[in-house]
Symmetry: C2
Subunit: 341 residues, 2 copies
């Protein structure tokens, strides 16, 4: 039996919490375990809620993460969760625990980053909480959005035979973090990768478009890596996947960084977290709709990287050989970045 | 010009944030600055949202705050904010940052405390976030409720001439904290006061009853002390108050504790925080309704402690003499407990 929280994987911790909290009431459409929760306060009107925190030294290092990027990112990752549910974001609450030594200029920078994302996505910061920390800087955002009942994108709706799609490119954030850690000050590495790590773009428009007309069947956002996202979709939907290694859209700048540092780019892109792209399944009959949605969503590329199978295994086809998909972040406290919902 | 956050009072920090975040959109009924935010996702259906955090060493000391009481309290203080808006609580999200050394039994205790309050008030924990901390244990809860538009209880609606009411008794939590700090282990001091500090009862039923038929005009919950609550109502409503010292319902156990330690009980009750009682105003024509509501709300005493005035001063009448009301927690980082919304 494990004794303390460090000995449990993050999914085991969430499962433990899930077991202990009360049974869902009838107004809860989606409870614990998806990208966000969905409730129905009034019949037909669904509210989507999610919360995500960033802790200094765990999620950001102030030596290379200016606080405007922390403000940007903590709201962006919440909007990414809403996007993965097909929801339109509307409001956010911000909870801050501040070290007493934090310069006011840094607080202002944080707020500027937060407000930048809020303004871009037409969200109102309606309130929050402020306290002192005694330890590291801690920021927690709760975002609320809306979605119609038939447009909710869950994790558990993949069917065997579905195409599996990925938005944008992956590996950029992991390369950006690696380059920042290697040389926090100098502008080595790719500026684009650093920006992907520091200031991810949540795929808000794409998420709502995918929910419309149920173009996508299931969806998740990539916080803990592509391999983890694939495994989560598989586990929730009771399917497996066969992924084609050559089809994984690794960002060219990330590919160059990983190759220069002697790391296999595809493996790095599969394991590396924080790309905040959307991973979704759709029936093969929807290929034209999906292509159209890509064009409507600021032209973001949507790449078919594999398909869902009845067999529960998650496989990667590389050079014609099937291998098991890497596991990604497995152990809660062993990982450099912890898992996110 | 202040340089870092420690030099600004908490209200000044909130004002600074308020100025920087974007203007409220049309769907926001109540934004930053009240007990909770109110939005209208669909016409006529109002959602109320609040968030409140507790940080180890700042809000609780694990030497005398078992984690089940922390789980209880962090949800209770959020429900208190909803009650102060007249809202019925419905769901909560829980965000945790855990030190890696936290025993699993402690996490379980925390969850038990949380679930106890959730069950009592029929709230569903619909999701959350979990991360490691690197520093102290940090728990943040966001609670969501609903209210009809005509039943929203704001802070800014007191009118000169209104009666000012207080639910229950005050001073208990401050006496409980003082007794725990004086002897964390021994059972000295009042068990009732300790419980008031560790496991406050949010006045959920009372808040919704006060919102019905607009029996109360304005309301706030007492997180940072009675004096602070009175001053916040006064500032938001542009009125003053005259409070009768003899009418302040100081808990008898708290009175004994303060007298035994040489502290004036009324002053201690005015300044001491965390009672989580409701402070509300009502027109004098509503005295019979208010009495009836007290009986409907589990018989909780509702005491008339003063009245609102056109003059903006907040005065305390003690032994026939008017004096200025104490200020309460003034400085964000100077206080033992920080201010809460």
């Amino acid at each position: 039996m494990p004794d303390n929280v460090a000995e449990l994987a993050e999914h085991a911790l969430i499962e433990r919490i899930h077991r202990r909290v009360a049974a869902a009431s009838s107004s809860v459409v989606v409870g614990i375990g998806d990208d966000a929760a969905v409730v129905e306060p009034e019949r037909g009107s669904l509210t989507v809620m999610t919360t995500d925190a960033m802790v200094e030294t765990v999620h950001f290092d102030r030596r290379y993460c200016p606080l405007d990027t922390v403000g940007h990112k903590v709201l962006a990752v919440n909007l990414s969760d809403l996007a993965a549910m097909g929801a339109t974001p509307q409001q956010a609450l911000v909870s801050l625990a501040l070290p007493s030594t934090l310069p006011l200029s840094e607080l202002d920078a944080f707020l500027d980053g937060l407000v930048g994302v809020a303004t871009e996505h037409r969200i109102t910061i309606v309130g929050g909480n402020i306290t002192k920390s005694g330890g590291p800087l801690f920021v927690d955002v709760t975002a609320v959005g809306s979605v119609r009942r038939r447009r909710v994108l869950r994790r558990n709706a993949v069917r065997a035979g579905d195409d599996l799609y990925l938005s944008g490119e992956v590996g950029g954030a992991a390369a950006g973090l690696a380059s920042l850690q290697a040389s926090p000050d100098a502008a080595t590495g790719s500026e684009l990768c650093r920006r992907r790590y520091l200031q991810p773009d949540p795929r808000v428009k794409l998420g709502t478009q995918l929910g419309k007309n149920k173009a996508a069947r299931a969806c998740i956002d990539l916080s803990d890596g592509l391999a983890d996202g694939i495994r989560q979709l598989a586990a929730a939907s009771h399917v497996g996947f066969v992924i084609n290694s050559d089809d994984i859209p690794v960002a060219p700048e990330a590919r160059r960084w990983f190759e220069a540092t002697g790391v296999d780019p595809v493996t790095a892109a599969l394991i590396g977290g924080e790309d905040y792209e959307l991973l979704f399944s759709a029936p093969t009959s929807r290929r034209r709709s999906i292509a159209a949605i890509g064009r409507l969503s600021d032209g973001i590329p949507l790449t078919r990287i594999g398909r869902a199978t009845k067999d529960l295994a998650c496989l990667l086809v590389r050079n014609g050989q099937e291998e098991s998909l890497p596991k990604g972040y497995e152990h809660f406290f062993a990982s450099a970045q912890d898992a996110r919902s």
